[in-house]
Every structure is written in structure tokens, then in C-alpha cells.
Amino acid sequence: MGVVLPVRHQAPLPTTLIRAETPRAEAIELDVLIVGGGPAGLACAIQLARSAPDLGVGVLEKAGSLGEHSLSGAVINPIALRALFPDKPDSEFPFRQRVEGEAVYFMTAAGSLRIPTPPTMKNHGNYTVSLCELVRWLGEQAEALGVNIFPGFPAESLLVDGQRVIGVRTVAGGLDRDRNPTDVFQEPTDLTAKVVVLAEGTRGPLAQAWRDWQQVGSDNPQIFALGVKEVWEIPQPLDRVIHTLGWPLPRDAFGGSWCYPMGPNQVSIGLVVGLDYHDAGLDVHESLQRMKLHPLFRGLLQGGTLLEWGAKTIPEGGYYAIPHRLSGDGVMMIGDTAGLVDVPSLKGIHYAMESGMLAATAIVAALQQHGGGGGAHLAAYDQAVRQSRIVGDMHVTRNMRLAFKDGFVGGVVKAGLMTISRGAFPGGRIAMAADAEAPRETHADTPFVPDNVLTFSKVDAVFKSGNATRDTIPSHLVVGRDITGDVADFYAHLCPAGVYERQGDTLRVNPPNCVDCKATDVLGPRWTPREGGSGPRYRLM
């Protein structure tokens, strides 16, 4: 048995993410540039276009088209959609179905025990959605309002002038493995804006770089979980949303599974594990495969078909991991990028949208009051978020996820007390270390053999993500130092998409497999933006 300490092997954040360069002569000028076309970025864009139709608003999205990199469970609280579209009835929103029943189970390898639904996990009045579908729909609304949407254009770096963010540079396209231009080479483009809104989603590289540069800390470091999700076509409809705790996760890992009805013949099923787990061999994809064979799920999926597969990290640090500042000179952070996720209720989409709307309101006020210099006056956004339901809800559950850091049983007890006391007990702040600081124990592996009926290999999973990344793009993954066989094994288990493989005592990297989940950016090789349209092509996630 050995120990891997992830942080020891991790490369630093690339310095190229912040560029103090004059924008190129042919730069595109906008008033507001939003980096990331997810629910946060699009809600921000829609609100901006509505309240200040004259503003030039652009949304950069790294996926080839909107929604193709969006993934969530998801059960959504509809309040943000209602607030953003007060004239639309619920029936016009792209929901899959209303939650009509729910059940929570504690699972063991052979059985399951139904337990009472914790108050934070009650979902009556909420709806199941495919986040891809929701994002596509939001994109249509934004485009109809005149927002410029640029799918297939990842932001490669922030352009800065002094302490001010003045724009972004996009990633070059059409490079070969050695970064030489091919005949479809596309030059990077610079975009400048009075305000750059970072809506990169989970573990955004530009937001990380900006926070490092501006030394914007948080009480606790942000921590993450990795979720692996599958959408299945099934013969019989599921009548309720299911959450589970326990098996197949070890007792010292925080996480659980979900299974949601997505209309009469589809379900979304997935497993989420906190990245502070202790066993170096823990493999979320394989654990989900095993879980599908459990009596609780096997019967549901039997005779069905795997339609789509995906993976994504989730910022789980909660209240104490919210950055001390969410805005700076010319820049703001919204949604998952700002860590606005409430883990105990498993909700983030409506908070993301609300933060985008609050950002829009602050931007419009700043630009109206201060014109071109409005980017220096965005702090009203921070205040608005702090006073909003978002932070209010996150404050109530502030220590709940953190209580599980030393194991499941103690965590359940503490979380129960916190629920009763609305977060007041045990008081104070449970300190957390960054996920990469947690040592991992290595054991001998039992290889998992998929049956290709209910369970699938990572290679097949990547196929089902729709990933058709050009095989010859330059590697976008930055591997750190002292990579031993044990470390390679750890990465191979960590990555759900088979990007990493141990070969002898070395690490082999297959960058085109990457589905941008960012798990190794948290614990291992750094993820950097790559050619637009690369990565998964989710339609149902």
C-alpha cells in the first residue's frame, strides 16, 4: 500500500491565462462579454438585452453549439425561470416533467433501505429537466433579443490593462499536435468589453487565474465533486425521483446517486462523489456501472438502452468557499464559477440564473451611471448576491457538506442537527483543505469488466458522450511532475473518460477523449481551453 498526495504532482496554473497585452487591431468591441453560454451566462445576457437593448452583448461558448457541454441531474427549482420570463407560463419552459414523488434510499451491496427524505432534498413543485435542452432554449430566447452568441469559441486568456480586465482572447483553431497551423487554421480573436462576465461553469480556468492574480481568497478553498451521468431509454416509466446514499461508495467518501424520470421513456441516472475521497482506486464511472447492477436499478434499466453518457464536476464548498469578491475592475463571476451551489438541496441551476440576473442589473446601473468607466463600479453585484436568496440559502446549509469530511456516519448526525437548527449548530466554520491536499491510499485493483448491456467501458462511454474531437489537436492537458505508476493509476481511475492510462510505470494521455469534466484539473493534470467545438456533444444531459 502506498500513498499519493495529489497536490505534489500537480502543475501550476498556466501563466498564459492572464495577458497584459494590447488587444489586436482587429479586435471585436462589445459592451458586455459573457464567457460561457450556460444557464448563468444566458440568464445574464437575456436580462441585459431586456433592460438595456442598446448594449452590445456577446456570449462566448466553448461547445460547438449551445448546451453541448452542459450537464446536470437535474431537478430544477423553477423560480428563476419565472422571474426571468414573468410573461411565460410554466408550460412554455422546456421541462421534462413535474416531480410527483420522491424517495431516498440507503444502499448496501445487496439491498436498500428507504429513509425519510431530508428537508433539504424535498422537491415538490420542482421539475426534471435536461440542462442541455434548457440551455438551448435559453439560447434561442437570447438570440431573439439580439444577443450575439458565439458557439465554438473558447476563451483562451483574459486581456488585462493594469488591474483592469479589458477583454479576452479566443483559442486558435486548426492547429496540429505540434501547434503548427493546418489549412483550417483559425487565428485567435480578441474581444474587448467594458465588463467581462465569467460564467465558465465549474472550475473555470479564467476565474481561477483572475483570483490568483488579484488574490481573491475565500474562507475555505473551493472543493469539488465529480458526477457521472447516463440517460437511458427504458421500457417502463419511473414514477418518482430517487436519491441514494451509501453503497457503492466507501464509508469515507461523500456522495450519492440520483435517478430521475425524464418523461415516459427516459431516466437520468448518475453518481456524485466528493473529490476528497481517500481510496486512490475509487473510480466514479466504474462505481456507477456497478451501481446499475444493484436490484434497486437493474430492473428499471433492464431491456433499456444507454442513450447518452457524460461527466462533470460540481463546486461543493458552499457558503464558506464563495470568493471574498465576486467582481473586480471590469470583471465579475457568476453561477458555478462563483461556487453558487447548495449541495444539501442539490441545486445550482436557479442560483446560477439568479446570479446572472443580478450581475446584469449591476452592469446596467454601472454603465448608465459611469458610461465607459462603469467596469470599475461593479461592487453592487457583490452586495446584491450577499443579500439574495442564493447566499441566504447557502448560509443555512453552510457546514452541511463540510460535516462529511471525516466520514459518513458522523456527517449524517451533524447534518441532522444542522437541519434542525437551520445551520446554527454546531456553529462556526468547519475548515476544509483543498481536495488536492487529501492523501490517497493505493491498493491492488480488481479490474471491472463491463457486460456491454447494462455496463460499459470508458471508451464506450466517451462514444456515448458524442465526443468527436479532432484527434490531431494539440494536447490541452498539462501534466505535473514526478508521475509514478501509482499516480498514473490514480489519474486513470479519477478520469471518467479514459484520458489517462498507466503504461508500465508511465502515464499515457489521450487528450481527445476529454469531456471537460475538470476532475483532473482539481486533482491532477491541468485543463486548459482547447479548439472550439472539441469535447462532448451532449444533447440530453
Binding site: 456491454n452 471508451v459 462514444f463 456515448k464 474531437t469 484527434d471 499515457r508
Partner: protein, 321 residues
């Protein structure tokens, strides 16, 4: 009564292969209503058409013109149009040339057109055809009313053997404007055949164990005499054993050869996505449970280092005859 005209292709003064198959399709349509089949041969005059009667043509219409030395779409369309009133259906082979010709004829004679047809039937007033659509992911059945132009997929019908001698009739090529001047055919680049174009694809996977063992597949490909290409699974391309251009699968090339031989390939879904439309799939793998055997028409379980050389020798022997 449905009389059918089959427009045959001539290249370098000879009928192209596929003529008999096309006549078989024509015969099927005509016989359903007691109609006749005419074969039209547009050439400069010296084509041997002796086999066409036996293959199903009641008459062979020969149209001679100096411009018919190469494919001449404008002249051929004019010739077909001059006789088209006699026919219920005009059929061509869905070859590169036939697919070029069919819609031109259809527009000229004001008839609907169906391409890449795999089966034809006459039923009352309509001709019913089946054709693959959505890259073969669905089959469409279409009813066409009135005079119809149909491009029949090569291989859809087997040529007939037992017919009678056909009558030979010369017809006049009407005046036409030669809008497009086909100047000739150059032989395609004789470099390595691309997996997307080859009639036979032999692909290797991790089971080969070492890049140097690809030579076994190259030898097998060579035995096919210039109609086979060597492909590779994503795993071995990623490992640097083979070039990206050779990759078959979702992110590589999608191939639909007549014969696909998968050697040491387990059969990941993403690989299967790239080759499952091959006409015949052969799998050679040591692991009898490998998923590739589920899609293979024929499988051999065993050591590829024994099986492949034996297969190479056998193919050489067949090709030598």
C-alpha cells in the same frame, strides 16, 4: 403495360460491369405487367452487346455518335428523351455516371426520379421502390406515379443467365447542345488506398501487440491486389502504432467496404460505429467474448499470428486463379 428502358454505360468501348444487374432489375419491373425491356447503348459504334439479350433485353437500341467516345450527358439525355414516351420506367445503374444521368433525364422528360434504389416493384399505377436514407440508418419506401426514372444500386439484383437473343435496333441521336465536355478519365492517384474508399479494409487493434505486426495486415491487403487498405482502431492510433488517416471509428473514418476484416480488435462501440455498415464483417480475435463477434458475419477465434498468414495464403491462391 410497363415497358422499361435500361440505359447502359459504356467506357473505353465496352459495356461496364453492372449492365446485367441493371437489366435484371428492368426485367423485374417489366415482367410484372408483361412489358418489354429495351437496353440503350450510347457509343461511337463498336460495342459488343451480344450478352444483353441473354441478360434480359428484348431489344438493344444502339445510338452512335462521335461525341459518345467519353460520357456525354447532354447527348445521352437527348437520345433517351427522343424515345422516352414509349417507356413507363427508365432505369440506370446508381454508379457515378448513372447518378449524374438520372436526374437530368427526369427533368428533361418531366418525370420523378429515385436514386440508389435497392428494390423495385410495380403495383397498379405506381412504381414502389425502397432506398436507404440517413446514411443507411433508415429505409424509405417511395411510390412514384407516371413515368419514372430510377437509379438502381449496383448489387441490388443479380444478373440473369437464361434469356434469349435480343433484337438489334439502331436509333438516331437527335441534335443536342454539348454543354458539358467530358475530356477523359485519368487514373486515380495510385498511392496507398484510403480506408474510406477501399473495397476491402483490414483493420488492426491492440491485439496485434506491437506496431511492427501491422506488416501481417499489409501482406493480407497486398494479397487482395490493390483493392484493400489497412485500417486501425483508435486505441492503436492513439498509441502511435498507425497513422490517423487509417483510423476507423467515430472520430476517425466511417467505412462501408464490401469486406471488413477486424484483426485483434475487441470492438468498442466507437469503432463499431465506423464500420458496421460494411457488407461483410470478419473478426479474428483470441477472445471469444469480444464484442466484435456480435457484429461480425464470420468469426475466427484464435491466434491472429497463425490465422492471418493462413488467410493471406488462401486469398493469394484464390486471386491467382
Amino acid at each position: 403495360m410497363a415497358n422499361v428502358l435500361a440505359v447502359l454505360e459504356v467506357r473505353n468501348g465496352a459495356l461496364r460491369k453492372g449492365s446485367a444487374e441493371l437489366l435484371a432489375a428492368a426485367r423485374r419491373l417489366a415482367d410484372a405487367s408483361g412489358g418489354t425491356v429495351d437496353a440503350l447503348v450510347c457509343s461511337t459504334g463498336a460495342v459488343n452487346t451480344d450478352t444483353l439479350g441473354a441478360a434480359g433485353a428484348d431489344r438493344v437500341l444502339s445510338a452512335s455518335h462521335a461525341d459518345f467516345a467519353n460520357y456525354c450527358p447532354d447527348g445521352t439525355v437527348a437520345t433517351v428523351a427522343s424515345v422516352s414516351a414509349q417507356y413507363r420506367a427508365i432505369v440506370v445503374s446508381a454508379s457515378a455516371t448513372g447518378k449524374d444521368l438520372a436526374p437530368r433525364i427526369a427533368a428533361r422528360i418531366n418525370a420523378p426520379c429515385a436514386m440508389d434504389v435497392t428494390s423495385v416493384d410495380l403495383s397498379g399505377d405506381t412504381i414502389r421502390v425502397v432506398r436507404p436514407v440517413y446514411a443507411g440508418k433508415a429505409l424509405q419506401t417511395v411510390d412514384l406515379r407516371g413515368s419514372t426514372v430510377i437509379a438502381v444500386r449496383p448489387g441490388a439484383y443479380a444478373g440473369l443467365g437464361a434469356g434469349k437473343a435480343g433484337a438489334n435496333v439502331s436509333i438516331t441521336v437527335p441534335p443536342f447542345t454539348k454543354r458539358l465536355d467530358v475530356t477523359g478519365i485519368r487514373t486515380a492517384n495510385t498511392g496507398l488506398l484510403d480506408v474510406a474508399e477501399a473495397r476491402v479494409v483490414i483493420s488492426g487493434g491492440r491485439g496485434l501487440g506491437d506496431p511492427k505486426h501491422f506488416v501481417l495486415l499489409e501482406e493480407l491487403a497486398a494479397a487482395f491486389g490493390g483493392e484493400a487498405a489497412v485500417g486501425a482502431s483508435r486505441a492503436v492510433v492513439d498509441a502511435g502504432w498507425a497513422e490517423h488517416g487509417a483510423q476507423v471509428g467515430q472520430t476517425g473514418k466511417t467505412v462501408a467496404p464490401e469486406l471488413y476484416i477486424a484483426v485483434g480488435i475487441s470492438g468498442a462501440i466507437q469503432h463499431l460505429a465506423g464500420m458496421r455498415t460494411a457488407k461483410v464483417i470478419v473478426a479474428i480475435n483470441r477472445d471469444k467474448d469480444a464484442p466484435i463477434f456480435k457484429v461480425a458475419d464470420y468469426g475466427i477465434v484464435g491466434d491472429l499470428f497463425e490465422v492471418v498468414p493462413a488467410l493471406t495464403a488462401a486469398v493469394k491462391q484464390v486471386k491467382a486463379h
